[in-house]
Amino acid sequence: MTENAIAWIFIFPLFGSVACAILGLWKRSWCYPISVFCMIGSTWAGIETLMQAMDSSAGEVSYILGGWVLDLYPRGVGIEFRADLLGALIVLVVLGVGLIVTIYSKLPVQEETPNKEAIFYPLFLLQITGLAGISLTGDAFNLYVLIEVAALTGYGLIAIGSNRAAAAAFNYVILGTIGASLYLLGVGYLYIKTGTLNMVGICEVIEANGLQDSATMQVAFALVGLGILIKMAFFPFHAWLPNSYCHAPTTTSSLLAPLVTKVMIYVMIRMVLTVFGVDFSFESTLWTQVLPWLVVIAIVSAAVMALAQREIKRMLAYLIVAEVGYMVGGVWIYNYYGLIGSIFHVISDACMTLCLFLGAGLILRKAKTTHFDGLRGLFSKMPFTMFGFFVGGFSIIGLPPTCGFFSKWYLITGGMVAQRWEYMVVLMFSTMVMVVLFFRLIERIHLAVSESGENLGHGHGDLGLTKEQTKFDEGPWSMVLPLAVAACIVLVIGIYNQDVVNQIERFLEPFNLPKGTGRP
């Protein structure tokens, strides 16, 4: 079984979704245990894959689906799944987040979308299949199909809630389709020029035939890049994200928010490093000159917009847009440390966003309002939830023992070494904004405001609330436990950050990225 670990990653959720769809018609209550079982199996396979990739000398495991290998075409015939260290790390993040959200989903799914388990869980598992596939596939067209699998199930998962969510999902459909179609078009141009769809194959053909100067390749790169930027909600194209995540059911937003944008950033890194090659990607001056400045605009405007929000989920959604700016910037400052920071931030941002959205789900369930002012007295009411939520929050700010600190450290180091001062300034600015955001939230939750709006809070004990409102009333354990696990993961990745960074460094070693001032 272990030699087919990569295939098992997909087999579990794929067949699980079919099983949920069929058995769910008959007994709805079976969907949850089936999903948990599938995700446990899939996560095991993900860990196994990462172990294999770490043990192998090349740092990668290749798996050609169906064993379609011919001597003539070592890369040609079948669809290849390649787990190099980066892909294996990302897929483990996807599966881990998926497992935690699956366990968490028991009550929210029953409460928010009653009697729809048989629809919800198949989509949910297919979503995870799609995201895991994106992070492991070695085939450019297969990547398009998996992007669409993840996107289509994502639209469904968002729209399964209210009519408002359906209206938000419609915008997502339009923009998501434009993004994916542009990517497909780019793959078409790549295929014209290279005659292969295998990612490593494309890179080999480009290097062997000196296609770096070809106009067709520039067009392909522009289309692929633009498509991915739209899909990852990079600033000017972010319009679909806040509404979709804000109005989606709790489980959906806790699954999509940590993963979808991060996986698309992974795709960008994959395209830049593996498919087009470092030389080609960073040589085109347009992208390396223009994108860091777009990043500056993106981070500043997303942070300011987050500051203007008065609802938790909407605020978090704008934070995601700002974080996307961080990671895109980390790639395009073209520096070794920037890329380490970017990849590490993909991992740590997934974990901390998970914390925040799981916490927000619990808070909203208890407070029954999305507005900041409805959160008074929650610290004494649900201490564990607030602890988990603010571990995520502190990680977003970048306080030391959490993983957010270390990834931001590498990003800032990269900016400094590459002498991209504007990027560093913007990172600092955005950090300040996040400090304001989260400490304002703490203040709202800690200090009470009377009904007429005057401040009643004189200290911890005097919140201007009745005893009933501050009584210990924690959420159900099936929701609090996953949140606690997620918070622990944020801390553990922070403490053992060097082990993760070692693997990322091992992955980046062959690409010869500039470690000094490498302005092209």
Binding site: Y144, N163, A166, L184, G188, Y191, A367, D373, S452
Partner: protein, 213 residues
């Protein structure tokens, strides 16, 4: 660089398919972004996807080429039989492993891959369109319109109603009617956190008769 008429040849005759696909692509993109009606947006989306399918299909077109199944009988030019007499014997056998085609033979076959890719893309397009139509139906059921400007007004109103601070909402509610005030003072603890679900259900109730009428 070009002789007279060469630009015309270069741009229109040899690359006509690319021109058509770009024009279709732009029509679709324009409709998706600037049309007001949601259904028209979806029509634009279909045109957009079809343009890409056209692009891929025209990539794989090769005049005078045959299906890429390597059998001598399938060869319309009859070269393969004379080319290598042993091939027919190999084909008659049960097992024949793939062999590298020679340079001349490759030219006779069409490349099936772009067309096969488009089969998948068509399926994806159909699924997207179906899902988007279902969403449009939900939007029409909920808001009674498929015009984007009307929809946006309604959505903004709904968002504004939801995002009112619970403190301010509490202050303003007792002024409205006496019954709510009595209720509010009686169950003081509950009214601190107004239930958004209650307002949601009422809004649904008010909107549902409209849809039937």
């Amino acid at each position: 660089m070009f002789e007279e008429g060469a630009i015309f040849n270069e741009l229109l005759l040899e690359r006509l398919n690319y021109f058509i696909y770009v024009i279709l692509l732009l029509i679709g993109l324009y409709a998706m972004i600037s049309k007001n009606n949601l259904i028209k947006k979806l029509i634009g989306m279909s045109i957009f996807q079809t343009a890409i399918i056209l692009f891929f299909v025209s990539l794989g077109v090769k005049e005078g080429a045959t299906v890429p199944i390597y059998k001598a009988e399938h060869d319309p030019h009859g070269h393969a039989v004379s080319h290598d007499a042993n091939d027919t014997e190999v084909d008659a056998g049960v097992v024949h492993s793939p062999q590298a085609l020679k340079q001349g033979q490759v030219a006779q076959y069409a490349n099936p891959l772009p067309h096969v890719l488009m089969l998948t893309a068509i399926v994806v397009g159909v699924a997207t369109l179906g899902l988007a139509l279902a969403l449009t139906q939900r939007i029409f059921q909920g808001y009674g319109t498929v015009e984007e400007d009307e929809l946006l007004v309604k959505l903004e109103r709904e968002d504004a109603r939801k995002s009112v601070s619970p403190l301010k909402a509490k202050v303003s509610t007792p002024k409205k009617t006496k019954t709510t005030k009595a209720k509010g003072s009686a169950s003081h603890k509950k009214s601190v956190k107004p239930n958004p679900k209650a307002s949601k259900t009422t809004s649904k109730r008010t909107s549902s008769p409209k849809k039937k009428s």
